[in-house]
Amino acid sequence: MIIITVFSLLSFLLGFILSYTNYIFPIKTDPVINKVNSILPQSQCAQCGYAGCYPYAKAIIEKNEKTDKCIPGGVEVISKINKLLNLNDSIEIEEINVQNTPVVYTTVKIDEKNCVGCSKCASFCPVDAIVGAPSFMHTVVQEFCTGCNICLFHCPTNCIKIIKEDRLC
């Protein structure tokens, strides 16, 4: 009898402490959003129509956005998200981007002779992979470049080129 009461008291106490801590330090980020975010390729290319992968993940959870918007991720990412969220729309997947190969990480390179130093690419790069000061030559830090190709469209002299580099092998 004593044992039962002691343990019931103990469990009650612990439960109280747990709920109290949860009340004091509430979980700010939604774990599901983080999970979806970890599936997305993180190249922050904004081809999904959102500012980056995290906003897109947030939109999927909070605004019922479709899961098939990520173009670089391809079918693999879509099916992974669907599996995670228990969605079952395999027909849609086949319709959309079947040709899409899974993520191949590429990087870009600036042809440094032609760089005029307009600094446009650097201001648009979502991961700050381009270093350089205005009116000086710019260059890409290969390690950080996600290959999102945003900078490509903003370069006035067209001096940025994609290097195919399958860094996963």
């Binding site: 970890s38 993180q42 980056g52 993520v103 979502p126 991961v127 700050d128 950080f144 996600t146 092998c169």
Partner: protein
């Protein structure tokens, strides 16, 4: 009887009948062409130190080393005939730089820098010499010895383990070296002791080398540092993980080295190469390779220069290669050699020759019958049967959870499996995928982190921008200090001038009054 160290799993293998031949090191003459394979680094474009048609001397470095690869030396004097990109038959995925050297049969050496008393040098400079002379682990891992020593210095090792265990029953190269050059190996051990300040030296050897053990024991009688550990004759014994496990009972998890728990492991032939490098100043250009012929069960241990084509070796020993299959490796871990022009590499320790068998009846793979044999033999306590199921069904998370990365690819489970399942092939593929997943996850984390950093930066910029703007609107420009001072000064001047004017007016009025009085 002394205690014999042991590990769980593994299979017992009979030692091969001792023959006198085993102790003799055969010497092989120089072939006319050497092929050197060099791992190239895409980020460094001037790795090579030589040009085509350049004359080289024996022992001349062909490359500049970098962090991941040590310099490679010419095994002969002669000319560089060609430099090209080629792939290797063992790892055909990667491209290597292949240098062809034509020998001039003179064997002229470069001048060697001999060191008689290595204690005059600091450990750092000795490590540098070891690096410059291209010593790598000769047991098969191909890990740079200098790197290992540096790691050992940094993390305070206390024991040097001399690995004289030959895992494969057919390989006797290390044994042969031990019987012939024992004193030189001891000098090598002392050099390593001087460099890394270890307090114990354990010589690990398998129980069937009775003569050698007694020889070593008589030699180390008055040396306090040394100790002999006898290991049970079992396969696999030679892997560093297994040795540590049988000596200490500790498991080394994936991604860690024995150095992390204070053990520095060197293969016997690596120690020999270190001695040669320090005392004789000789770069690593030759090694001992065991040759095992299954047909007449004959052994040979040949001292051979790295870069010698295997074809030349076989021709010299009059082994017909049309009716034989040539493998690199011993009984358990072996690769069928497709291109016989492949040279001996720094990590080639055995060549085995079997009768050519046409695959008339293919080995049929049956389903796994859950017999559990594979679980019993695995030396690192994995569950191959479970791993096989998971990897077959592409269950990458589960395979990772079942520690597939700890598998040392020793091939025992595959050999013993009654259903002929190529387990290790599955595991290798699975490991490759695991590596890819790991890399991708790392990349993703990094990208996300940088994205967050940028967001923060932009937010900060915006904040400070707006703050500055507000400052501009609210603060009174005239209130700033400099302006204040200026206005004050002006003010004072004005006052003074005002005062002066009044004074002047007063003065003039007084004068006028005086003049009036005079006139009156």
């Amino acid at each position: 009887m002394k205690k014999k160290y042991n590990f769980s799993g593994g299979i017992k293998c009979l030692s091969i009948k001792e023959e006198l031949d085993k102790y003799i090191i055969y010497h092989i003459p120089n072939p006319n062409k050497f092929y050197m394979y060099i791992q190239h680094n895409t980020f460094k474009n001037n790795m090579l130190r030589v040009r085509i048609n350049q004359k080289v001397l024996c022992g001349e470095p062909l490359t500049f080393g970098d962090k991941s690869s040590v310099p490679i030396h010419s095994p002969t004097s002669g000319w560089i005939k060609s430099i090209e990109l080629d792939s290797h038959s063992i790892s055909s995925k990667k491209k290597y730089i292949k240098i062809t050297i034509v020998s001039d049969y003179l064997n002229q050496w470069i001048r060697l820098k001999k060191i008689n008393d290595y204690k005059l040098y600091s450990p750092k400079s000795l490590i540098k010499i070891i690096y410059q002379l291209g010593v790598v682990g000769l047991g098969g891992a191909h890990f740079s010895s200098s790197e290992k020593l540096i790691l050992g210095i940094n993390s305070k090792v206390h024991t040097l383990v001399v690995n004289a265990v030959e895992s494969d029953p057919y390989i006797t190269a290390d044994y042969c070296l031990m019987t012939n050059c024992l004193s030189e190996i001891f000098i090598g051990c002392e050099i390593i002791t001087w460099i890394s300040k270890v307090t114990n030296i354990l010589i690990v050897i398998q129980e069937d080398k009775i003569e050698l053990i007694s020889k070593i024991q008589s030699l180390i009688k008055n040396k306090k540092l040394f100790k002999v550990c006898i290991l049970k004759k079992k396969y696999p014994g030679g892997s560093s993980k297994i040795i540590i496990k049988s000596l200490t009972g500790k498991d080394i998890p994936y991604g860690k080295h024995s150095i992390d728990i204070g053990y520095l492991i060197f293969n016997v032939s690596t120690i020999y190469a270190i001695k040669k490098a320090i005392i004789n100043g000789k770069p690593l250009i030759q090694r001992i390779v065991s040759l095992y012929n299954h047909r007449n069960h004959s052994f040979k241990n040949v001292l051979i220069k790295i870069g010698t084509p295997i074809n030349f070796l076989l021709n010299f020993l009059k082994i017909n290669n049309s009716s034989n299959d040539i493998y690199i490796g011993g009984l358990f871990m072996k690769y069928l050699l497709m291109n016989l022009n492949q040279p001996i590499l720094k990590d080639t320790n055995c060549i085995s020759i079997t009768k050519h068998t046409r695959n008339v009846k293919k080995n049929i793979n049956y389903e796994c019958i859950n017999c559990g044999y594979c679980v019993q033999v695995c030396p690192v306590n994995l569950l191959p049967q479970k791993l096989y199921l998971y990897s077959k069904n592409n269950n990458h998370e589960k395979t990772k959870e079942s520690f597939i990365m700890d598998c040392i690819e020793c091939n025992i489970c595959e050999q013993i499996c009654p259903s002929n399942i190529p387990l290790v092939t599955y595991f290798k593929h699975e490991k490759f995928i695991q590596n890819q997943i790991d890399k991708e996850n790392k990349k993703k984390k990094e990208f996300f982190y940088r994205f967050q950093l940028r967001e923060k930066r932009i937010l900060n910029q915006k904040k400070s921008f707006y703050q500055n703007k507000n400052d501009f609107n609210n603060t009174d420009l005239t209130n700033t200090n400099i302006l204040n001072k200026k206005t004050n000064k002006n003010f004072i001047n004005q006052k003074q001038i005002d005062k002066n004017i009044r004074k002047e007016i007063l003065r003039s009025s007084i004068e006028r009054a005086k003049l009036k009085n005079k006139n009156l």
